[in-house]
């Protein structure tokens, strides 16, 4: 038995030496070895000093050592061999790495390794040291995270080094967090002044520390803590308000995107396009198709699908206009029925050709995550981008309608078709282009929606009634009205949601619009003048 073991050992050593030799030759790390040697003693006091020495050394491996030491995974080969870090201590043979050079040493038998033991005092010291090490990390984000983790976890022995860190810290955020962390510790000891440092923070650790202090026997301290808590509560409410507003605007921007194309086809041309929702769906499926064409590059695919979605939907719009709508001029109710038929066909087409199930559209990295305003308020990035996109699309449409030849012709044809034609405007061409524009914008809405909801054959159906509501609420033929109506309906919906629930909020909004139409049949911003009486 013994011989086999020594044989294996010898073999391993041979391998190890042959592997390690070049690195060892290149840079014999005597300082690091000395630091580790200091740990290998029976005195815990000496070990503590060694830990401090390692923390102060700035050795690139120091963090690895200390963590391994804390977990009992920093070990030494029997008979004063090399120091190793055990990666997994299950079974009889453990995979290890060299502590000094970080190279892979394969597996070693547990019997050949000696653990460097620690006691409770040392464990506490190690935890503190590691936290402080993180706080010295060069990256600001790492320091912030470490400081945030420290809130409510500061032990009395750490106050002194932390104070030193606060003074040398360059980043305001880290300094603020550290001050708070220290203040929590001081508050726990009954320090009245600490309350001031903590007031206004939304962190949960801060709040639990304050509410603990508010229950304390010290009357002055309890009162101060209660006041601070009230202030925090106030701030939290404000944050919640902003959050609701943000979600409302986000929902509103989706509504605006879905409705703005309709505002063109319905508001400007007077065509009721029930297939509008399906044009949105086509835009969303274009995004999906683009991602299938460009696997592994969701960001590029998303950017490319903005023009592609516009084109696909616009082309579909032209086909619908030429094949159906042009024959139903001046008969809005018939247009409604015919385009509803088109919407059924498009839905079934997608179901048959692609799948009746939802497709997944991947969000690129720069769309996920969120923008942290403060501890109580973070804005999800994808919604923020969709909001921006909606405003951009709106501005673009505004420009087209107000500043281009096409916009001028569209407005002329809308106001007086016969007169516009006699002035030499080709009304039929304007019809096609307008419808293509409105449909294309629906496609853009689909591209944006693919980032927020499921892409499936029913995607459009869910938005068509809402879109009509937005256009009618805002005032037909008025793009500004659509913007205001969409955003305000979104916000109203979100404000109602907490106490009414999502479905009831939606019902209430619908009822509100139905009643509103009774009061102002032509919407928020009615068209005025002779053009309105068409």
């Amino acid at each position: 038995m013994r011989t086999i073991r020594s044989l294996v050992q010898g073999l391993l050593c041979l391998i190890v030496v042959s592997l390690a030799a070049p690195a060892a030759l290149a840079a014999p790390d005597d300082d690091g070895r000395a630091l580790l040697e200091a740990l290998d003693t029976d005195s815990y006091a000496a070990k503590g000093e060694a830990v401090t020495a390692i923390a102060d050394s700035g050795h690139p491996q120091s963090r690895v050592w200390l963590e391994a030491l804390l977990d009992g995974k920093l070990q030494r080969q029997e008979d004063g061999g090399r120091f190793v870090v055990v990666l997994a201590n299950r079974g009889r043979h453990w995979p290890v790495r060299d502590a000094l050079t970080d190279e892979d040493l394969g597996e070693m038998s547990r019997r050949d390794l000696d653990r460097i033991g620690i006691n409770n005092a040392l464990r506490g010291q190690l935890q503190n040291t590691l936290a402080l090490l993180d706080l010295r990390a060069p990256a600001v984000s790492a320091r912030r995270e470490a400081a945030r983790d420290l809130l409510g976890e500061v032990s009395p022995s750490m106050v002194e080094p932390l104070n030193g860190l606060v003074e040398n810290e360059a980043d305001d955020e880290v300094r603020r967090l550290l001050t708070q962390a220290i203040a929590i510790q001081r508050l726990e000891r009954g320090d009245l002044e600490a309350v001031e440092a903590l007031s206004g923070s939304l962190n949960t650790s801060v709040r639990s520390a304050l509410s603990a202090a508010a229950r304390s026997d010290d009357a002055a301290l309890a009162e101060a803590a209660t006041d601070a808590l009230a202030g925090i509560e106030q701030k939290q409410k404000l944050n919640d308000g902003i959050q609701t507003l943000y979600f409302g605007l986000s929902l509103g921007s989706v509504l605006v995107l879905a409705a703005i194309g309709l505002a063109i086809t319905f508001g400007v041309m007077g065509v009721i396009n029930m297939a509008h929702g399906e044009l949105i769906m086509l835009g969303a499926y274009t995004t999906w198709g683009m991602q299938q064409l460009l696997p592994g590059q969701p960001g590029l695919a998303l950017l490319l699908s903005i023009p592609a979605g516009f084109l696909v939907a616009a082309l579909a719009g032209i086909v619908i206009e030429r094949s159906v709508i042009q024959f139903l001029k001046g008969r809005p109710l018939e247009t409604l029925l015919a385009t509803f038929g088109v919407s059924l066909i498009l839905q079934q087409l997608v179901r048959t050709l692609i799948s009746p199930l939802n497709r997944t559209v991947v969000s690129p990295e720069w769309m996920s995550g969120s923008l942290m305003i403060n501890e109580g308020l973070s804005l999800t990035l994808n919604r923020l981008l969709v909001l921006g996109f909606a405003l951009l699309v709106f501005a673009g449409l505004m420009l087209v309608m107000r500043r281009t030849r096409l916009g001028l012709e569209v407005r002329a044809v809308t106001q007086n078709r016969a007169m516009a034609r006699s002035m030499g405007i080709r009304a039929t061409r304007v019809d096609i282009l307008t419808f293509a524009l409105g449909s294309g914008v629906a496609g853009l809405a689909g591209v944006a929606l693919s980032q927020l909801t499921n892409v499936g054959p029913n995607l459009g159906q869910n938005y068509i009634i809402d879109s009509f509501m937005v256009v009618v609420f805002g005032g037909v033929g008025n793009l500004w009205g659509t913007l205001v109506a969409g955003l305000s309906l979104g916000v109203i919906n979100q404000v109602l949601e907490p106490w009414a629930g999502a479905v009831l909020a939606k019902i209430l909004v619908l009822v509100f619009i139905i009643l509103f139409i009774q009061k102002r049949p032509r919407g928020l911003f009615p068209q005025k003048g002779r053009a309105a009486e068409g």
């Binding site: 009634i465 619908l510 619009i513 139905i514």
Partner: protein
Amino acid sequence: MLASRSWLSRPLRERSTQIFLGVLLAALAVFTLLNLIVPAGHPLHVSTYTVTLLGKYLSFALLAVALDLVWGYLGILSLGHGAFFALGGYAMGMYLMRQIGDRGVYGDPVLPDFMVFLDWDSLPWYWHGFDMAWFALLMVLLAPGLLALVFGFLAFRSRVTGVYLSIITQALTFALMLAFFRNEMGFGGNNGLTDFKELLGYDLRSDATRLGLFLASGLALALGYVLCRAIVASKLGRVSMACRDAEARTRFLGYRVERVQLFVFVVSAMLAGVAGALYVPQVGIINPGEFSPIFSIEVVLWVALGGRGTLYGAVIGALVVNYAKTVFTGVMPEAWLFALGGLFVVVTVLLPKGVAGLLASLRRRRDDDASETPAQGASS
């Protein structure tokens, strides 16, 4: 009394109504005989399943007639008539639920199964009274009627017409659908009301009851048709058609347009409610799906296909489209939406007056050939 009788009986003297009633009653009689007398297995035998299916078509036809009354003769395209239909259906469903008594899965003598399931300990107030047939039948008329009255009063008073009215009727039925999907509403939520046992003491699964329901649907359709014809042929009907063709002019002539609109709208809603009440016991379930905007818009297609403003066209449209739906969804379900969508497009673009218009133009051509003077038919 005499005046009112002449008002109601006038349509019976019209040739088109006589033909319609003749065909309808003959069909009812034939199907009944084929079901009862011809033995099962004979090729001419009509199974009870088919009779129930036909009964369902007839209730749909009544709904289409109700819609045609407002769309064809008042010029209001309601995209929410399914809501009135469903309300009538729910009123009937609530009565049928109460009739189950303690035969439900949970055996509670008063509470329907879904309420026991939701841990409710007493009936909500609006469920009271539905154990009495007369009250339920009254509600079949009143629930849709009241909704139409309130909604119509608000809409017509502020002169919401045309496309706007269509869109808000659609919003109305959409909102109701969302509401009825909620369990808290107390109408069975997603699953709706089902598991019915008997109606007025007759077992709903027996062949005789099913035949009876089929005949009742047919008679209701006949009565509804006569009522609508009577309204259309009356002075009120003429004013209503004037509103359809030139609303502002009618108003300037001194007619209270909104009152006419309100009256016709409410009558139509009640007819739709009756249709719903006949539909529910035959299919054995009512759920919020009946409120979906798509169903309402499908009803519009029936009327458009048959020919709006003719009443009998609505009946033809409802029967044809629903028969086609049964065939298609049985043989190739994927093709149904293509066919339905295609129908919408073809009918509106190529057949703006529907089948009835096609028939009328054929007849006119024949009449023109027979005599050189253009004939004015009784149906105008």
